[in-house]
Symmetry: C3
Subunit: 327 residues, 3 copies
């Protein structure tokens, strides 16, 4: 719990956004409501609001990710912030100055927010522990730990289709073991009070202790999909796996790939989600990915709005406090 | 013809800008007139207009090109658009998601325009066929096919010096075979109604079917330059050539390099153009490139204005239609 | 002297900023006063002024430097300028067009300022000699020659702590031989009229002719630090050194590393400076770098303000003149 409290200031308001774990339902609902307001901004002719004019948002990417960086960059620009992209290869950091010295330098340049992506679990939390009081940290994915803005855009997408979270059955399918996305989704779904979260996958890709998060485990996809309202497919991250954890690709698709046939087991109005990029024919068939139940591209759009929400809340909150607190 | 109609919407207005081929004279004149108005913007103290504020222009460069990307980026920024640079190495695309999935993702992020550069002829057209209705595509060079904004900046430069296109004789010199620039220039010049277009080069570098475009072919440069009003030199793109298509560099310069001496064969007020970057001493001598008849650097300036014109027309058009059409 | 006059226009006002050498005390004081005004901008909620709106500042980095480029980019954005980053690997320049052709192209694109970093001494001066009248050049570090904006941010930091330059004793410690930073600092300090500048280092790392600049040379750090008001540590640039110029790292630290113990030899209110990035345990101990006398991070903050000052003076000056001079 202490690990997550770093996200809140003394008034219980968001200061960093590192992990869904430990955040109250109301905080998540506030993010969703704020994101909803930005969806209308996106629909305007001039897709830009001056909320963060004069603020500097720094993308600190220790792990390459064009797509996620693009969404954060677009979200920041549509809030009128200035964006500084800093790509750090592991070698550069080890040769040169220490990580903390680099952070303190960026702080001294009056950056306001660090958006952090790192291959090691805990990196964003470590950075949040060490930044100056005027900096907010957003976790854009740390190792196998968390990817909280992804989870929030997923919740936004679910809410826009299903209105409430109560009474929902949600299945998350695939490589749960290596997935920071799945971990953040599970925390978000249980905090928002869905009826049931199921994880579906081979034994080798489901961590032993996952049941302690309140989810039900299925190794048979046909059983697991029965009557669910939401199917979340995970990307098969081949590059994350070592050893013989999974059967060959074709066998995997037969067992855990989502096809139109398997999808009929879910409720007829079930939606299909995927964090992208999708591997067609590996974890999802093309007719499902492009089919009427797929909301995969809506997730991408909602990702901009959800990130705008988190960024504006983190920085907006701080300024409000500064003003009240007499600077 | 069908291939080019994709560029126009139902009202015959520009929606994409893929190729000069198939566009009517009036469309080209509109681009030139609009570009002319942006030249005065460039001369102002504050070199910026708010026409595309809140729009997102994405540079999709599958082929590296610092110079062309810079001009599109500057043009977009001077229209107050936000710019997202996406550099795609061939390998990244093949490993990860499909091209179309990537495009649909960028669409879902509410990008408004894709500026596409690709080593394969037809790539921009393929992308234009598959994008959502709210996206415009600009071809920034596809294989050996077309480079239409380059042709428009060249036409702008010619018009600023010669006022009208009628009565002009224009010679294009060099590697016609591999040149997307030459192909677009020929279409633009004939559409705008010049008296004569000549292509000059060795047999190995002039395609057999080029005469069908209405140009005259010369293999002797001294003959070809006689009495022309405009000399357009092409860059010798060594990297594009395979096999023994051309004589050694020095021999090439003797036969097809533009020198002061050869230039005297043209009209005394002829202008010398080159799309850059120039190979001094290969296709053009330094005293010509830097001499009084050279307008090479004006072409670069006009390139910003021409690209601002195309971008603002494509996006402005759409908005006008949306408003009229009741959103 | 002639070499530096290129920096001034006919009215004696700054046009380029290449080197501190040859600039009058009043010019340096103007930069410091202007920078001081930007420190208050940095403290505002909206950290942005519209001074250079519509101007284009081009970062021309022939030598990689994330940190320095970031500070120039942030400074430019906070002045509301558009920024174009052009990274030129040596190979690209040699293969393609000549340096001057590239510069003239950027000029034709209506860039207003080139911020130049280059491994060769004299590169920024060479470029300033060849640019069009509407371009200003800022030297962001050239070989072992000069790094004048670094010197100005250092002077700003000193003045904010010591109020005046008179009566100050300043020691610069380390690899003077390879340091463009040291050279610019020495010129700035002597021009601003400090009482004494000392350089401290091993014989192999202090150039023979340095005494001609009016500095005192010390090889014994304990002697050199006695009663100084300011200690400037230099980064040990291992990558710049070839041959056996310096003893092993540990021995170097014993002789010339700054420790709390050695620091007691300076005045009790002495400040400790370092251009960064610091090598902890090589030229400076962590307890000094993070201690109460260290102003290293203030230098970073002041770096943004100093660069905003130089940029706005160079471009602002020009506009003022243009207006007075009737365009």
């Amino acid at each position: 719990m202490k690990q997550n409290n770093i996200q809140l200031n003394d008034d219980g308001q968001l200061r960093h956004f590192i992990s869904i774990e430990g955040l109250k339902r109301q905080v998540l609902m506030d993010i969703l409501d704020t994101a909803e307001s930005f969806i209308s901004v996106e629909a305007q002719q001039v897709r830009k609001v001056p909320l963060l004019r004069g603020k500097t948002i720094t993308n600190l990417f220790f792990e390459p990710s064009t797509r996620t960086r693009n969404t954060f960059e677009l979200a920041a620009k549509r809030l009128s912030a200035d964006v500084l992209n800093v790509n750090i290869s592991a070698s550069a950091t080890s040769k040169g100055e220490s990580l903390l010295d680099m952070l303190h330098n960026l702080e001294a340049m009056h950056c306001d927010m660090f958006v952090v992506r790192h291959a090691q679990s805990g990196a964003a939390h470590f950075i949040a522990q060490h930044v100056a009081p005027h900096i907010s940290v957003v976790n854009a994915g740390d190792g196998q730990h968390a990817h909280p803005t992804q989870a929030m855009l997923d919740m936004l997408t679910i809410r826009r289709h299903k209105q409430t979270f109560a009474d929902l059955r949600v299945a998350i399918v695939g490589d749960i073991l290596h997935s920071r996305v799945a971990r953040s989704q599970i925390h978000a779904l249980t905090t928002l009070g869905v009826t049931e979260v199921r994880v579906i996958g081979p034994k080798t890709l489901i961590p032993n202790d996952i049941a302690s998060l309140g989810v039900h485990i299925y190794h048979d996809m046909n059983e697991g999909l029965r009557d669910v309202d939401v199917v979340i497919m995970l990307r098969l991250q081949k590059e994350r796996m070592s050893g013989a954890l999974l059967p060959r690709e074709k066998e995997y698709f037969n067992l855990y790939g989502l096809t139109c046939e398997k999808l009929t087991l879910a409720r007829s109005d079930a939606i299909v989600m995927h964090p992208g990029p999708i591997n067609r024919g590996v974890e999802i068939s093309s007719d499902v990915a492009d089919g009427p139940q797929s909301v995969i591209l809506e997730q991408v759009s909602n990702g901009i709005a959800a990130r705008m929400a988190v960024m504006s809340m983190l920085l907006g909150q701080r300024f409000a406090n500064e003003t009240e607190g007499g600077q």
